[in-house]
């Protein structure tokens, strides 16, 4: 099979290391450290994982160039992760037409599963799930009445709006206000004024961590302090605490893993549960040993590991004789696979059912504590996949 030799398995990945999206570069570096860890442990069935990742600066034209070059000149067995929607879409057709498996794109875009593709396996839970759970929690547990949303003006933000509207409708409510945020905006005063004007008592922030910091800060300055809620994207509390200078204490975010809430709602410690143990192991065996010394041990880095886990697991299950078709089979057979993320499930390929490639559908909520730690608020909750309206 392409990209598989007796001793090596070649896996490709793209992602921004430079440019405005560079903070997501840690995803690829996380995967890299993870593969190195596996190799250090002896590889998979005697084969080492060779990880090729390149910087596309979030520019699809460069993604296509890099993917084609690696695929045609080096030969990749499969592709893993890959940050960005536009970048991923630019190569999606190429990979699918050539029947090259691609596991765990790291962007929550419905394009991955609508229509489902035989060789494309989603891992990242969709943001509408985050919105659903956040709204549910705000309304049912916290008793909030006026829920507003500030959303990034793109796929990410729009999913949040849809999820929130869906959930609130069930409770007979409506969003108090929807405030769009452009990625390039730095000044959040008008946005916060809008939120304040609507008298929101809970605000969902479907924006980047930087914008979350700006909005919360601006809100503080304007003496507007509702319950701030955000997505897994902003769930890296130590980072959030640093850039908000401690202001984000009490921020509630959704999370799709890296901690295990089951039975342990409350402050997270190194608990005696499998996920925490795994995370601890990744810290010592992957991060400490293989990450660059200036790498930050954060959410993004770990996510890079999380997205690659199903692939590694499937390769393992394939056994000695590794082919792409077999890999797809093994992935399809994956039921309740538990890595550091939530449970992952795939189904045999059905062109009409997006859920067959959805992967993970559960999230839980956590709250940021004083010292940047997280307090778990809910157990895993399975959310509803909302197909996009157009189709």
């Amino acid at each position: 099979e392409v990209g598989v030799t007796d001793t090596e398995i070649h896996i490709g990945q793209w992602g921004p290391q430079t440019g405005p999206a560079a903070p997501w570069g840690a995803v690829a570096r996380g995967t890299d450290a993870y593969f190195k860890m596996i190799n250090a442990e002896g590889g998979i069935h005697g084969r080492k994982l060779v990880h090729h990742y390149f910087d596309d600066a979030y520019n699809p034209a460069k993604t296509v160039a890099g993917v084609k070059q690696l695929q045609e000149q080096e030969g990749m067995f499969a592709w893993v992760s890959g940050v960005g929607t536009a970048t991923g879409l630019a190569v999606k057709d190429y990979l699918m037409e050539n029947k090259i498996p691609w596991i765990g794109p790291s962007a929550g875009s419905r394009h991955w599963v609508e229509p489902p593709q035989k060789y494309l396996f989603n891992v990242y839970p969709f943001y509408m799930g985050d919105a659903q759970l956040l709204c549910q929690y705000a309304v049912e547990t916290m008793g909030k009445k006026k829920i507003a949303i500030a959303f990034q003006n793109d796929d990410y933000g729009k999913q949040g709006v849809e999820g929130a509207e869906y959930q609130l409708k069930k409770a007979g409510l409506e969003l108090a206000v929807k405030v769009p945020v452009n990625v390039a905006d730095t000044d959040m005063i008008p946005h916060v004024m809008e939120l304040k004007k609507a008298g929101a008592d809970a605000v969902l922030l479907f924006v980047t961590p930087g914008h979350v910091a700006r909005i919360i800060g601006t809100g503080k300055a304007m003496q507007f302090e509702p319950t701030w809620m955000s997505t897994s994207t902003c769930g890296d509390f130590p980072l959030m605490m640093a850039i908000t200078k401690g202001l984000c204490k009490g921020l509630i975010t959704a999370s799709f893993g890296l901690a295990e809430p089951t039975g342990h709602v409350g402050e997270v410690q190194l608990l005696d549960n499998p996920v925490q143990k795994m995370v601890a192991k990744y810290k010592t065996d992957a991060f400490d040993k293989f990450a660059a010394k200036d790498e930050r041990y954060g959410y993004t880095f770990l996510a890079g590991i999380g997205f690659a886990e199903p692939l590694v697991e499937a390769i393992r299950r394939c056994g000695k004789d590794l082919t792409r078709e077999k890999l797809v089979k093994e992935l399809e057979n994956m039921k309740n696979f538990k890595g550091v993320l939530g449970r992952i499930n795939y189904k045999p390929f059905d062109p009409k059912d997006p859920l067959c490639r959805l992967g993970q559908g559960e999230v839980f909520l956590q709250e940021c504590t004083e010292n940047g730690g997280s307090k778990i608020l809910t157990d895993w909750v399975t959310t509803t996949y909302l197909p996009s309206k157009a189709e």
């Binding site: 290391q17 430079t18 405005p20 560079a22 903070p23 570069g25 003006n153 405030v179 769009p180 945020v181 452009n182 390039a184 905006d185 730095t186 000044d187 005063i189 008008p190 946005h191 004024m193 809008e194 004007k197 961590p209 930087g210 910091a213 700006r214 800060g217 601006t218 503080k220 300055a221 304007m222 003496q223 980072l239 640093a242 850039i243 908000t244 200078k245 202001l247 200036d294 930050r296």
Partner: protein, 291 residues
């Protein structure tokens, strides 16, 4: 009504940061007639230097800031001396591309050294406190920015208005050869202008960094500052300030009353309209070429 006043006030507040960037651009434009695309990065590098001084060398805040300003001065001078001055038979577009190239280099160096992580610069004044005047809020940091911008503008304006050196800078911009024939050390003037401009810009950077500090943070203020400077008339210092405030206020009013989505572009639309009426900006004298 409160809302309107609030929007204008906060528009002026953000306008101050634009104004500082705009002032920096105008200074350089006056001296070398280059729209200076490296303005943002000339401000960025000193900010990170101050961060480095505080974080790695434990310098106190004031020392780090002083260090950053000194570094900005040196950086500006070096860029002019080592690069722009070397341009052979420069034309304006060539110079623009050089500044774009420099922008990439500085941005690359900063991101290379500090990575892409977002940070927040330690600062004596909290960016989250605010002053209330009646029902109107203004964050203390914004207020500080406003005051600093006004002070800097006044100093620069007086300098250009009443000092011989100020006139010499203008002369240098208009006809460098003739300026040299007057015995004006045009190279030195340009170099110092770049230094001062970098300093003015990095003040804006230092005042923006306490909120979020990341390699791309100066890009937006730079563009808005540029836009403001253009509305005001690229050669007029008060123009840059007026223009920047105009941009800030228009953004806020539009964001508040019409559409937040288009807030960041409406300023440009207004600029086009203003320029259609006054092709060289609000405060610059329009000069009809005489044949």
């Amino acid at each position: 009504m409160v809302n309107l006043v609030q929007m204008i006030v906060s528009g002026i507040a953000v306008g101050s940061a634009y104004a500082l960037m705009g002032l920096g651009m105008v200074l350089i434009y006056k001296a070398s007639e280059v729209p200076n695309f490296v303005q943002g990065e000339m401000a960025l590098a000193p900010v990170f230097i101050s961060y480095l001084l505080m974080n790695s060398y434990g310098a106190p805040v004031w020392a780090a800031f002083a260090g950053a300003l000194a570094f900005a001065m040196v950086l500006g001078c070096i860029l002019e001396f080592a690069v722009l001055r070397r341009a052979k038979e420069p034309n304006v577009l060539g110079l623009i591309i050089i500044t774009i190239g420099l922008e990439m280099i500085l941005l690359g160096l900063v991101s290379w050294k500090f990575g892409a992580d977002q940070r927040s610069l330690p600062f004596p004044i909290s960016s989250y406190d605010s002053v209330m005047i009646g029902n109107i809020f203004i964050s203390t940091l914004d207020l500080l920015t406003l005051v600093v911008a006004l002070v800097i503008m006044t100093i620069l304006f007086l300098f250009f208005r009443f000092s011989k050196l100020g006139v010499a800078m203008k002369a240098t911009q208009q006809n460098e050869t003739a300026a040299r024939l007057m015995g004006i050390r045009t190279n030195r003037i340009k170099m110092v202008t770049w230094g001062i401009s970098a300093m003015v810009g990095s003040v804006a950077g230092l005042l923006a960094a306490p909120v979020i500090m990341e390699p791309f943070m100066m890009w937006d203020p730079m563009l808005k500052g540029f836009a403001g400077a253009v509305v005001g008339g690229m050669t007029s210092l008060p123009g840059a300030v007026v223009g920047a405030y105009l941009v800030g206020v228009i953004e806020h009013l539009f964001g508040g009353y019409v559409s937040i989505e288009f807030k960041s572009v409406v300023a440009f639309v207004v600029i086009v309209i203003v320029l259609c009426v006054k092709p060289s900006g609000l405060l610059a004298k329009h000069y009809i070429k005489k044949v």
